[in-house]
């Protein structure tokens, strides 16, 4: 439960920081007579599809954790079919989050180092604030990802724990890898 709250905070922070990531720089492009001609270039997170996916994935992960915390707080019992559903959803959540985080992380690496073979210039030396904020968002989401993995493991362990029933044997020993 505490894990879920922590993961929710981490992914929500990542979403917000990346969503508000925007930096505008004005460059002096040329001179016409005596007045310098400036062009303003903006770096927004929407410019990169990987970052857009990052924001969406983190938002969905936060939403999932929020729902789970809400159902815990409001006392909705997970019985029967719903308990494995929680573990499966947690797993899917972790997969989605890992995909989003890594896509954005490698895109950020490309922005920071460029790729000389493809003639892609690095943009971080011009847009340091954008890059820093993006880096913070990715770090926060990584923390959220690790926490989500922990949540998944806890959910699975909770599933496989033997139920305390008098007439049934412990079920943990019956689980075999087919």
């Amino acid at each position: 439960m505490a894990l879920r709250v922590a993961a929710l905070l981490a992914t929500a922070a990542a979403t917000i920081v990346m969503a508000l990531n925007k930096e505008t720089r004005t460059f002096v492009v040329g001179t016409v007579g005596t007045t310098p001609v400036t062009a303003s270039v903006t770096a927004k997170f929407q410019h990169t599809p990987a970052n857009v996916f990052f924001v969406i994935a983190n938002a969905m992960a936060s939403n999932h954790n929020l729902m789970m915390i809400g159902s815990d707080l409001f006392g909705l019992e997970f019985k029967g079919f719903k308990l494995p559903l929680v573990a499966v959803l947690d797993m899917l959540n972790a997969a989605l989050l890992s995909a989003g985080v890594h896509g954005a992380a490698f895109m950020a690496q490309l922005a920071k180092n460029g790729n000389s073979h493809a003639r892609w210039n690095e943009i971080c030396d011009n847009f340091q604030g954008y890059c820093n904020r993006g880096g913070v968002a990715i770090l926060a989401a990584y923390v959220g990802l690790l926490l989500t993995l922990g949540i998944t493991v806890v959910s699975i362990v909770k599933l496989l724990k033997p139920k305390p029933k008098p007439q049934s044997q412990p079920l943990a020993s019956e689980i075999e890898v087919p």
Binding site: V41, T42, A43, K44, H47, T48, P49, A50, F53, K79, G80, P84, A87, V88, M91, L92, A94, A95, L96, S98, A99, G100, V101, H102, G103, A104, A105, F106, M107, Q109, L110, A111, N115, H117, A118, R119, W120, N121, I123, L149, T152, V153, I156, L159, L160, K163, K165, S168, L171, S173, E174, I175, E176, V177, P178
Partner: protein, 163 residues
């Protein structure tokens, strides 16, 4: 019941193994040289850290799949296999997402950053990359399916007793 479970899991693992091997081999052998305006321009997967990560992770996943196929049906290792399956599935999804992000930039460029698409100059390299990425995506999907199936199969005795 156990036989069907074993058959389905072995099939899924074999499929994942095939997909990861295809992904690794095709990406590792993809290389193309293009001549643009008297400049020789080589495209290799080692030029991009994301693709290097992708190849390494797919290789690890393939190796793990072989290991899991050989060590199947030992109750002592079942929990460990489940946890490792989860870890490998996460690694697979992460690697395919990273490779797809970079490949998307390579195909469509990014006008805001001044990055030109390179697929026009090295089309065969791009095609091989597409095949490799599709195989990697299939591997990730199959691993997620495997996880869900293993969980459900492990819970079947529980379903009969739970209220």
């Amino acid at each position: 019941m156990a036989k069907i479970r074993k058959a389905v899991t072995v099939t899924l693992r074999l499929l994942a193994l095939a997909a990861t091997v295809v992904a690794v081999v095709i990406m590792a052998t993809s290389k193309e040289t293009a001549h643009v305006l008297n400049l020789t321009f080589t495209a290799k997967f080692t030029h991009t850290p994301a693709f290097k990560y992708y190849v390494v992770v797919e290789a690890i996943a393939g190796f793990y799949t072989v290991l899991a196929l050989l060590l199947a049906s030992k109750s002592l290792l079942s929990r460990l296999t489940l946890i490792l399956d989860l870890v490998v599935a996460m690694l697979l999804t992460s690697s395919i997402a990273a490779a797809l992000a970079i490949a998307q930039v390579g195909k469509q460029g990014n006008s805001h950053a001044g990055w030109l698409p390179i697929c026009g100059q090295v089309p065969r390299y791009c095609d091989k990359l597409v095949v490799s990425l599709v195989a990697g995506f299939v591997a990730a999907l199959v691993y997620l399916l495997l996880l869900v199936y293993t969980l459900r199969a492990a819970l079947h005795p529980v379903f009969a007793i739970k209220p």
